[in-house]
Symmetry: C2
DNA sequence: TAGTGGTCTAGACCACTTC
DNA sequence: AAGTGGTCTAGACCACTAA
């Protein structure tokens, strides 16, 4: 005798299994809430709750007025230390500034909403840049997109004296494009040499969810990066918030002694 | 004229703000659902839903029959590459086996449920260990705990010939304790030299949530690690699932060319 | 316009905790 | 026993989508 699912959790469980074992392939529309309710003999409310549970697990997306769908899989970007390689940002100054300033995507990705401002350093920023809290620092706020969808934000902080008057604090988008920050700092006699990166995951705030269009049930990965010159002086502190489903970080290293 | 919150989202928003700005400190009990309902003039159902939203953001924990509480903060472990350092696992064989086999915690942490079995390699494992899918490999499944609470799981896969007959595949807990795997492999003439680590975040499966006691609204970080000898032969593939709120990964490296 | 998901109400019962 | 969160029902209205 088979038990018939009659709670939100149980209905969610049977749907979850169908999604995971492939009998409901990615992108397929699930039965309508009213259908589920009738099918399992529960109230519409309960059937809807089952879908909420699956949404919160990241297994299902809903489109209001259209239906509920098994979550599509997305192309995933693999990020290694190579993304900071000199060869990727060390270009002549002329080339670096030759990009179209109208926000056209010059590579496969576009840097959106280049937004520069001068703010007071909070405790985190101050500690990372080795200055006093409250000192004025430049922030460069960006939202990165790929193929039209935003994938992560990045806020870079610089000591005021290091970047004053440079292209870095020019609010026009595209001026300090891909890796441009490192080039500008090098021109200023502050060549980056070493990076320390911290990573952790959490659920997005409501603002982040709106900004990055993060569906319910998807976490973010926060990356905090401090870049230093060869003599240990911090020249950039950056905080990025990434949609977790879009990225894998990879790292190869020798076993330390 | 101030709008009075009267939807689940709005009530959640006002509570969220109180939690984030500290007027409801961590660990404090929130108003009861019935109280909230009366206070905001909504049904009990709606007030409860506001709490569900906050739970899913990881801001609130509920204890059935007791109350809803602003989420406590937990001690966070920072993991760097040093956790693989030779000095931490290169001990004499005698010492490595001298640990109490009754599961007592000999260091600050205890390795639980040491569970060894021989299974067929799936595609992932086979690719990582450079063997054919379906070949038999040893799996060492563990649940790690710290101060009594489980923090992460770790499944290590070994090529059969590499570990057959060693302490690694002895199912008694504690035998191959902290870092013991590397020591055993070294004794076998397969000293680990290089590690490749992949990390990404997602929501836990139901099984993971149960096993690691993960509250709603907390993601996991999956770490996949391949360890190789100096000549590039893979000797261990390990997959770990970590409670996101308990860990930060850190990594310092020179900027590549 | 018909069908979809989203949300709310009012009431009920259950399971758990606390005293 | 009293108070708490968890869940379900039945019905209602709204907002959005698709034809």
């Amino acid at each position: 005798m088979q038990k018939i699912p009659n709670t939100a959790r149980e209905i969610a469980a049977t749907l979850r299994e169908q999604i995971l074992n492939g009998s409901i392939p990615p992108g397929t529309q699930l039965p309508a809430v009213r259908t589920l309710a009738k099918q399992y003999g529960v109230s519409r409310n309960t059937a809807a709750k089952a879908l909420v549970l699956l949404k919160n697990e990241g297994l299902v997306t809903t489109r209001h007025g259209s239906g509920a769908y098994a979550r599509e899989e997305f192309p995933i970007r693999v990020l290694g230390p190579d993304r900071y390689a000199r060869s990727k940002w060390q270009v002549t100054t002329v080339e670096a500034h030759s990009a179209d300033a109208h926000g056209g995507t010059t590579t496969q990705q576009g840097g959106q909403s280049q937004d520069v401002s001068l703010i007071e350093a909070d405790a985190d920023v101050a500690a990372a840049l080795n200055i006093q809290p409250g000192e004025l620092v430049y922030v460069r706020d960006r939202v990165m997109t790929r193929e039209g969808v935003s994938t992560h934000t990045m806020a870079s902080f610089y000591r005021r004296a290091d970047v004053e008057g440079t292209a870095l604090v020019d609010p026009r988008p595209g001026i300090a494009g891909r890796g441009g920050g490192f080039q500008v700092l090098t021109d200023r006699g502050l060549p980056p040499d070493e990076i320390t990166e911290d990573k952790f995951a959490r659920m997005p705030t409501v603002e982040e969810a709106l900004l990055l269009d993060i569906p319910p049930g998807e976490p973010v990965v926060v990356v905090r990066r401090t870049t230093r010159t060869a003599d240990g002086q911090p020249i950039e502190y950056a905080v990025g918030v990434h949609r977790a489903s879009r990225f894998i970080w990879t790292n190869t290293f020798k076993i330390p002694d």
